[in-house]
Symmetry: C2
Subunit: 332 residues, 2 copies
C-alpha cells in the first residue's frame, strides 16, 4: 500500500467535488494499492490540517454550515510549504488578470518539492512555460487535465493513449455555456439575449457572461492545449478571438437550411490560435449539442480522433483531478 | 537510453505497418529515451533474425519482392522462445475457430517471459481469461489496444485516462464495413446487395463478408471490451448477435424521416452483451458515418465520454500497437 498525502487549496465546487470523490473511491483506491490521505484543506476563511488524514465528511459538513473549512483561524503557517505532503491540488478560482492566488500557490508547491494537480486555468493561460520549467527544475510532476474540457481526459489521451503520434492540429468546442446558447438559439429560433437569460437562470451562464460569450474562456483553454501539445509559449492574449454575441437566429436558420450548425470553434495548427464562430456540417464529429465539449485531434498515424463529454460540473472536474492524482501516485 | 527488443510475428498489412511506423518514428523514440530494435520478424515463409536490430527497410523490400521476410528457410529454432527479446508483437490474422496460430504464439511468449502486444482478436475473443492469467503468472504485460476500434485508443482511455472512474456501460460501432454499408444505403437509398458489392470493389468489404455483416467481428470486439473492462470471462459465443443483412433502404428511409439512423450497435452493460441494428437519433454522438468507429463509455464520475476515429487501416492499427509498445517500454 502506497500512502499519498495531498492538500486541497480552494474548497469551492471543485475542491469539494475532489473531497467527495476521494471519499466515494476509498475502496477502489485501496484495491489499487493507494492510501490517499488529505492532510490539509484551505479556503479563504483559513485551513484545516491533520497530518494523519482529515475526516473529509466532517470538513464538508463544516464548510456547508459555517462557510469555511477552518475550525479556527489562528494558524500562522503556510499549508503548502510548511506541512509535509506529496501533492498540492490547486483548485482556487481562475483569475486571468495575474493568475493569483493560483500562480503563487503552484510556484510555492514546486519550490517545496510538491507535485501539482490543478483545475485552475488562469496561471496556465498566462505563465505555462514558467510553471512547466519550475516543475522540471524541482523534479516534480505538473498535471492539469481538469483545466480543459472538464471530464474529457484530453491531455491523457494525447500524451499517453496516443503516444507515438505527432499531433498535426486540434480543433474543438471548449466552452459549454456558448455551446448551450448556440444550440438553444438554433433549436428554438430565439434571439441571443433571451437564450442568455435562460442560461443564466439555469446556472449555465454567469451573471456577467463576458468571460464565456466573448470567447475568453475558450481562448485560455486553447492556449493551454497548444502550449502542452506543441510546446508553444503562447498566452491567451496571442489568440485571435471572436465571441458569439453577434450571432443571430437568422444566421443559424440559414446555416441549418444548408445542413450546417454554427459553433464557437477553437483551433490550433501551424502556430495559429483562433477562437471564432464557424459553420460546421451537421453530421461532422464537432457538431455536438447542449453543454457538451468536444475535441478533434488530427494525428500523423491514428488520423483524426474525436472525443466528447461534459465540459463542466463539480464531480466531472473532480474525475479529471482524480485521474491526475492517480497518475502522480503511480509515477512518482 | 533504454533498449527495447521486439519481434513481429506475422508480416501482413499490420506487421508491415508496425515496421514502417518504427522506421518513421526513429527520432521521436530516441528523443523519448527509447532505442527500439526489431530483432526478429516471421511470416508463413520463414523468419529473419538479427539480434543487433534488423534493417527494416531491407526486410520490407524483400517481403514486397519475394512474398516473405525470410532470406533462407533453413532455420530450425523458434523465434518467440529461442531468441532473447522483450516484446512479442503478435500480428497474425484473426481466426475465431480456435485462435491459432495467435493463441499458441501468445502463450509461448508469456511462458518465455516476454510481454505481448497484439492486434489479433481471435485468441482474445476465445480465451481472454486464460491469456490474462498466463501473462500475470509469468509477470509480463499483455496489451491489446489494436484489437478493438483500430486507431481509437479505447483501452488506454478507459484504464489509464479515465482512471478512478467506474465504467457502468459501453456502447459503440466497432465495425467499419457495416457502418459504411449502412451509411451508403441511407445516403443513396440503395439496396444492401448493391452497396455490399460497391464496398467489396473498394476493398472495404471482403469477398466473403459474413464475418462483418453477420456481426461476428463486432461480437468479438465487444467480448474483448467487456472482458477487459468488467473482468468478465465471456467468449464471442456469449453475445446475442443480429447482423445487418435484413436492413432495407425503406427501413433506413423511414428512420431518416423521423430523424434517426440505423447503426449496428454493440452494447455491454449489466452483464449483457448485444450486437444488433438499432435506431440512433441523428444528432446522437454514436451517429458517425462512413467507415468510422465510435465508442461511448458511461462512467460514474466523468459521465458519458464518446470517442471516434478510424476503425481499420495498416498505419492506424500500427498506431495502437506503437502506443502499447511505448507503454510496455515505460512500465517494464
Amino acid at each position: 500500500m502506497k500512502t499519498v498525502r495531498l492538500s486541497i487549496i480552494g474548497f469551492g465546487a471543485v475542491g469539494q467535488g475532489v473531497a467527495q470523490s476521494i471519499l466515494s473511491k476509498h475502496d477502489y483506491l485501496h484495491k489499487h494499492g493507494i492510501d490517499l490521505r488529505v492532510v490539509g484543506i484551505s479556503d479563504s476563511g483559513g485551513c484545516e490540517v491533520d497530518t494523519g488524514g482529515i475526516d473529509l465528511k466532517k470538513v464538508i459538513a463544516r464548510k456547508k454550515q459555517t462557510g469555511t473549512v477552518a475550525a479556527d483561524s489562528e494558524r500562522d503557517f503556510d499549508l503548502i510549504s510548511d506541512v509535509e505532503h506529496d501533492i498540492v491540488v490547486e483548485a482556487t478560482p481562475t483569475n486571468i488578470k495575474d493568475g493569483e492566488p493560483g500562480l503563487g500557490n503552484m510556484l510555492s508547491a514546486f519550490q517545496s518539492g510538491k507535485h501539482v494537480v490543478t483545475s485552475n486555468k488562469g496561471p496556465l493561460a498566462l505563465c505555462f512555460a514558467e510553471l512547466k520549467e519550475a516543475a522540471e527544475d524541482n523534479g516534480v510532476l505538473f498535471r492539469y487535465e481538469a483545466t480543459v474540457g472538464g471530464a474529457i481526459p484530453i491531455f491523457n489521451l494525447i500524451h499517453e493513449a496516443l503516444a507515438g503520434n505527432k499531433v498535426i492540429g486540434i480543433e474543438g468546442i471548449l466552452n459549454g455555456t456558448t455551446n448551450y446558447i448556440l444550440t438553444r438559439m438554433a433549436e428554438e429560433r430565439l434571439p441571443y439575449e433571451l437564450v442568455l437569460k435562460e442560461a443564466q437562470e439555469l446556472g449555465i451562464a454567469e451573471a456577467d457572461p463576458t468571460y464565456d460569450v466573448e470567447g475568453i474562456d475558450s481562448a485560455c483553454k486553447l492556449v493551454i492545449l497548444a502550449n502542452s501539445i506543441f510546446g508553444q509559449c503562447a498566452t491567451y492574449r496571442d489568440v485571435d478571438v471572436t465571441g458569439i454575441t453577434k450571432i443571430t437566429p437568422e444566421a443559424l436558420e440559414l446555416a441549418s437550411k444548408n445542413n450546417y450548425v454554427i459553433k464557437l470553434i477553437c483551433e490550433a495548427s501551424d502556430g495559429r490560435l483562433i477562437v471564432a464562430p464557424r459553420l460546421v456540417p451537421k453530421r461532422h464529429p464537432l457538431s455536438v449539442g447542449g453543454t457538451l465539449n468536444v475535441a478533434s485531434i488530427l494525428t500523423d498515424l491514428a488520423g483524426r480522433i474525436t472525443i466528447s463529454g461534459k465540459g463542466a460540473g463539480s464531480i466531472e472536474t473532480a474525475s479529471s483531478i482524480l485521474s491526475d492524482i492517480l497518475y502522480v501516485a503511480r509515477n512518482s
